[in-house]
Amino acid sequence: MNYFPKIEPDNASRREFLKRTAVLSAAAGATPWAVSLAAMGEAAAATATDYKALVCVFLYGGNDYANTLVPYDQPSYNLQQTFRANLAIDRTALAPLVLNPTTSLPDGRQYALAPGLDPLLPIFNAGKMSILLNVGTLIQPTTKAQYTAGSVPLPPKLFSHNDQQSFWQSSSPEGASSGWGGRLGDLFAAGNGNATFTCISVSGNAVYLSGKTAVQYQVATSGSVPVNGIQSPLFGSLACSNLLQSLMTAPNSNLFANEYARVGSRSIAANAQVSSALSGVTITTAFPTSNSLADQLKMVARLIGARNALGPKRQVFFVSVSGFDTHDGLLAVHPGLMATVGNAMSAFYQATIELGVSNQVTAFTASDFGRTLVSNNDGSDHGWGNMHFVVGDSVKGRSFIGTPPVIANGGPDDVGQGRLLPALSVDQFGATIASWFGVSAGDLSTVLPNIGHYSQTNLGFL
C-alpha cells in the first residue's frame, strides 16, 4: 500500500497555492483571484494528456451490507444468522460465489458475493475488482470509545437518508453546494476543452457532481434532449422558433428565472454537440434490458466512446439506482437489486474493454449508508459503514481493502444493532481515487477537505 506521511493540509495546500501563484504571477503579472483559480485548474490539467473517467454508481436508500457481502466461513456465517435468521441467504447458494482474494483474510474469514452479483465474480477473480470493507462517512478517524464518549466530531445527522447521501457525496449534509466529484472537475475542467462535459449525470441532480465552478450536465438514457420547437419551425413559424430559443436562454433579473434560463442555455448549447458526437458511437457489448442502471451505464459508455468528439480528458459520471431502503421485504427485494447492480456493472466493464479504455475508467459503488445487521423481522434499518466495490483494469484487484468487521450487536466495530462504525472513511476512499485521477497530494484537501485528518490518504486499491 502507498503511504503518505501525515501532513498539515492547510499549510500544505497553502504552500502549494503560493508556489503556483508565484509561477502564475511571474507568467501573467498580478492575476485576479478568480482568474488564478481557473489558471490553476489549467495548470493541473496540463499534465492530463491521457483520458480518465470515474463512474459513481450510487445505490439510493442505503444498501444492506450483510446481504451484499455475506460472511461465508462457517463460524461467521453461523454468527451472522444469529442476528438475522429471518433474512438468511442459504449457504449452498453462496458456495459458488465465494471470493478468493490474492491474500487471504485473517482468522479464516471468508466472504461470498450475494446471489445476483454473479457477473462480478469473474471480474474480481481476474484481478479487476476490489472490495472495501466497512467504509463510510467520518470527519476524522473514530474509535468506538471516542464515539461512545462523544469526544470527536461526527458527520451530522447520521442515519438520515438525504443528509448521509449528501455527506457521502460532498462532506456536508443536505444543502451542500459542492461534492468531491465536482471538485475533481474543478481541477480538470479548464483542460477539458468544453468544460460542460466534465461532470455528467445520467441520473437526476446530484451534489456529487457540482464543484465550486464545475456544473453538472445531465443527459437522459436516450442522450441529450433536443427542444423540438427549436429544431424545426414552431407551428410553422421560424420567428417563433428563434424566439423560443432566446426566451429559454435570456438572462432575467429574478434569480429563479435567471437560473432556469442558465439551465436552458446549457441544454440547448450542448445538445447539438452531444447528439452529433453520440451518432458516431456504436457499442456492441450486450447490456441487460429492463435495468435502469444498465440503461444509464450504457449511455455513460457511449459518452466515453464519444470522448474525442466531446473533448474532455477527465470526466466524472454519476448514475444511480433506487430501492435500497429495505426496511421491509428484504429477502424479496434485495436479490433483484443485486442482480440489477451485478448485471449492469459487468456489462459496463465489458463495454470499457470494447472501447479500449478499461485501464482508464474506474467505476465504484456508493450509498447513503449501510444498514443494521440485526433484523427488524422483515428487513433492516438505517446504519452507517458499508461494503463497496471498485471496478476497472487500473484497480489492484482481487483484494479486500480494510479489515472484516466483527459480526456483533454492540461489538467493537458497531454502534449498536450492527450499525458499523466506519473503519475507512469516504475521504480516504475518494482521495485514493483522486490520486489515480491525477490530483496532486497538495490538492487532495481541495477535493476532500477532511483528508488531512488521516495519516493514510491512499488506500492502495488503484
Binding site: 436508500g61 444469529t82 429471518n86 445527522k157 447520521l158 438525504n162 443536505e174 444543502g175 451542500a176 453546494s177 459542492s178 465536482g182 437526476g204 441532480n205 457540482s210 456544473v215 453538472q216 450536465y217 445531465q218 443527459v219 437522459a220 434532449v225 427542444v227 423540438n228 414552431l234 407551428f235 413559424s237 420567428a239 417563433c240 424566439l243 423560443l244 432566446s246 426566451l247 429559454m248 432575467n252 429574478n254 434569480l255 429563479f256 428565472a257 435567471n258 437560473e259 432556469y260 442558465r262 439551465v263 436552458g264 441544454s267 440547448i268 433506487s322 426496511h327 421491509d328 421485504g329 424479496a332 443494521t372 440485526v374 433484523s375 427488524n376 423481522n377 428487513g379 450487536n409 449498536g416
Partner: protein, 587 residues
C-alpha cells in the same frame, strides 16, 4: 372595525415583532433576503397601515375601474395582476371567470368561499364507480393517475386541490413504493385523507395518515413486530424516523422564525437521537390491515380501513422518545395517539410545517418575519387551537409578503412553478376536459419526454425535491438561498417539459384531454389582445413588456385569417409563454 381589518392589523403587529426578532443567532442570512426583510417588508407594513388609516382612500395606482375607492393592498385585488398573482399562489390554475370573480371580492372572502365549497366525488368512490375495482386490477395501479388528474384538473374546489398537492409533497406517499395489492385504492384513500383534512387540523391529519394502509405499506410499519429476544429482531424504525424528520419536526431545533438553534460551540442542535427513533418505533408495532369480514381474494375495501392492532405483535412495554414516556400497558391506539400528541406539541412543528407550506404556495425563501407570522398562527389560531389549517392558509395567503406587489420585484422572491403545476395552470386556464371522462393523462414522470414529475409517484419519501435544496453553482447558492424545484430541473427536464407542453397544447400526449380555446379564438385576430389574455390567465400578468413585445412580433408571423392559422397562433403563443422563465418563476 370589521374582522378583516382586525386580521390585517394583527398581522401588522406580528410583523413588527417579527422584524424585531430577525437578529436571532444561527441563521445563515442572505444579503438579498436581508433587504427583503428590512426594507420592502417595512414599507409594505406601513402601506398596509396607512391604507387602513385612510379607510380605503389610498390608491395603488392600478387600473381599477370601480368608482368605489381602491382598497389597500392585502385586502382585495387592486388590479387584474394582483388577482392573478393571488390565484397563482392559491390554486393550480384559474380561468378568466375566476379572475373576474376575485376582482369583485376580498381575498379572505374568496378563501372562505373555498372553505365552504363542497367536495367533489372522492378518489375512492370514483375508482369504484368506474369499475377499477375489477379483479384484473388487483396487482396494478390502473386508475390512480386517472382520478388524480380528474381532480387536479377538473375539480371545482381549487384551493383544496392546491393544498392536497402541497400536502402530498410534504407527507409523502408514492405508489411506486407500495408493494401491495389494490395499490391504486391504497393511494386513492390516502389522497382522500389529505383532502378531508386540507381545511382541517394537522393533528387529525397525522392521526389518519398514521393509521392508513398506504402509509403502513409505504413506510413499512404495517406488520412491524415487537422486539424478539430469541431472534434478536427489533421493531421497524422507518416510520418513526421519517414521521419526525419529514412530516413534523425535522432534524434541527428551530426558532419560530425558521432560524436554526445552535449550541455554545455554534453547532446546530439536533431534535432527536437514534434512541428517540428506537423508542418511537416501539409505538408503531403490531399494526396491520383490517380484513375483518372479508374473504380472499380480498376486495379493495381494506385499503380504506384504518389499520388495526394485532395484540401479539404489539410492544406493550413502555416507550420513551423526545422526553416523553408512554407507560407500559397503554393500548396500541392510545400509544399512537399519545405519541402523535407529543410530536404535535413539539415547538418545531408549527415552523417546520408552516414554512414548507409557504414554500409550496408562495415563495422558496420566505423572510424570517413571514415564517414567524405563519408559525405563530399554526401554533395558535387566535382561539387557542394549534394546527388549524384554515387559519394557516389565511396566514400564508393574506400575509403582506404574499400580497404586496412590491415584494415580487425583489430578485430573490418567488419560486419555480412545479412542472405539474405548470401543466395544471394550462389545463385549468383553458378548461381542459376529458370528453370520455377517463382522464387518461397517465404517468408524467419521464424527464425526457414528459414532465419529470407526476403526483403520488415520488422516487422516495423525500419528495421530488427537498425544501432545503440549494441549486449548486448558482446565484441562489451564492446567497444561501433554496430553490427546491431546481432539484428536478436539469438540461433534460427543461427541454422535455417544453416538448411535452407543445404536444399537450394541441391536444396530444395526455389521453383525450383537450382545452377549450374558444375565448382565445375570439381574440386571435389581434395578437396583442390574444397575448394579453394569455398573460393574465396563465402568467399572472408577470411577463415583462419586452417579452410581451417579442412574443407579439413572433406571433404576427402566423396569419390568423383562417381557423387553422388562428389556432397555430394560439398554440405558438401558449408554447412561448409557458417556455418563458418569466412564467416558470412565480413571483
Amino acid at each position: 372595525m370589521n374582522s378583516i381589518s382586525r386580521e390585517i392589523l394583527s398581522t401588522s403587529a406580528q410583523l413588527e415583532s417579527g422584524l424585531n426578532a430577525i437578529a436571532l443567532p444561527g441563521r445563515k442570512k442572505s444579503p438579498t433576503l436581508d433587504l427583503l426583510e428590512r426594507s420592502p417588508s417595512a414599507v409594505a407594513g406601513l402601506t398596509l397601515l396607512s391604507g387602513l388609516a385612510a379607510c380605503g382612500g389610498g390608491g395603488s395606482g392600478s387600473a381599477a375601474v370601480s368608482s368605489t375607492p381602491t382598497p389597500p393592498p392585502g385586502i382585495s385585488p387592486a388590479s387584474v395582476a394582483d388577482a392573478g398573482r393571488f390565484l397563482a399562489q392559491a390554486t393550480l390554475g384559474y380561468t378568466r371567470a375566476d379572475l373576474t370573480a376575485l376582482q369583485q371580492m376580498k381575498y379572505s372572502d374568496w378563501i372562505d368561499a373555498q372553505f365552504a365549497t363542497p367536495r367533489t366525488q372522492s378518489h375512492w368512490d370514483w375508482l369504484i364507480a368506474n369499475g377499477y375495482g375489477n379483479a384484473n386490477n388487483i396487482n396494478n395501479s390502473v386508475g390512480l393517475d386517472n382520478t388524480i388528474w380528474r381532480k387536479l384538473i377538473g375539480s371545482n374546489d381549487p384551493l383544496r386541490q392546491r393544498m392536497v398537492l402541497a400536502l402530498s409533497e410534504l407527507c409523502v406517499v408514492s405508489v411506486l413504493g407500495i408493494n401491495a395489492q389494490w395499490r391504486q385504492f391504497s393511494v386513492a384513500n390516502y389522497l382522500d385523507i389529505l383532502e378531508t383534512n386540507a381545511f382541517g387540523n394537522y393533528r387529525t391529519l397525522l392521526q389518519q395518515i398514521s393509521l392508513s394502509p398506504a402509509m403502513g405499506y409505504y413506510l413499512t410499519f404495517r406488520g412491524s413486530v415487537k422486539a424478539n429476544p430469541n431472534t434478536g429482531s427489533e421493531p421497524d424504525e422507518n416510520y418513526a424516523r421519517e414521521l419526525m424528520q419529514l412530516f413534523t419536526i425535522g432534524l434541527i431545533k428551530l426558532n419560530t422564525d425558521g432560524s436554526l438553534q445552535s449550541d455554545a460551540n455554534g453547532a446546530a442542535v439536533e431534535t432527536y437521537t437514534q434512541s428517540d427513533v428506537s423508542g418511537l418505533a416501539r409505538v408503531f408495532t403490531g399494526w396491520n390491515l383490517d380484513l375483518s369480514g372479508l374473504v380472499s381474494p380480498y376486495p379493495p375495501d381494506y385499503q380504506q380501513r384504518p389499520m388495526v392492532s394485532v395484540a401479539a405483535n404489539y410492544e406493550s412495554g413502555s416507550k420513551s422518545f423526545l422526553g416523553a414516556t408512554i407507560p407500559a400497558g397503554t393500548s396500541a391506539i392510545n400509544s399512537i395517539t399519545m405519541a402523535l400528541d407529543a410530536i404535535f406539541a413539539h415547538p418545531n412543528l408549527p415552523t417546520f410545517v408552516g414554512k414548507q407550506l409557504i414554500q409550496r404556495l408562495v415563495t422558496s425563501n420566505p423572510s424570517s418575519g413571514y415564517i414567524a407570522r405563519v408559525s405563530n398562527v399554526f401554533a395558535d389560531n387566535g382561539a387557542g387551537v394549534r394546527g388549524d389549517l384554515r387559519a394557516v392558509i389565511k396566514a400564508i395567503l393574506l400575509d403582506f409578503e404574499a400580497r404586496d406587489p412590491a415584494t415580487a420585484t425583489n430578485p430573490a422572491y418567488g419560486k419555480l412553478r412545479e412542472p405539474v403545476v405548470r401543466f395544471l395552470n394550462w389545463a385549468r386556464a383553458f378548461d381542459a376536459k376529458s370528453p370520455s371522462g377517463v382522464w387518461g393523462v397517465g404517468d408524467l414522470s419521464d424527464t425526457a419526454t414528459r414532465l419529470g414529475h407526476s403526483p403520488m409517484r415520488s422516487g422516495s419519501v423525500f419528495n421530488f425535491f427537498r425544501p432545503g435544496y440549494v441549486p449548486p453553482s448558482t446565484a441562489l447558492s451564492a446567497q444561501g438561498l433554496t430553490g427546491p424545484e431546481f432539484q428536478i430541473t436539469n438540461e433534460s427536464s427543461v427541454a422535455g417539459y417544453v416538448n411535452y407542453m407543445q404536444r399537450v397544447i394541441v391536444g396530444a400526449g395526455a389521453g383525450d384531454l383537450a382545452a377549450d380555446y374558444s375565448s382565445l379564438l375570439a381574440l386571435a385576430a389581434s395578437s396583442a389582445k390574444l397575448l394579453a389574455e394569455i398573460n393574465e390567465v396563465l402568467a399572472a400578468s408577470q411577463l415583462s413588456s419586452s417579452t410581451l413585445s417579442n412574443i407579439q412580433t413572433a406571433m404576427d408571423t402566423i396569419p390568423a385569417s383562417t381557423t387553422n392559422g388562428a389556432l397555430n397562433r394560439i398554440y405558438a403563443a401558449l408554447t412561448l409563454v409557458m417556455a418563458s422563465p418569466e412564467y416558470i418563476a412565480q413571483k
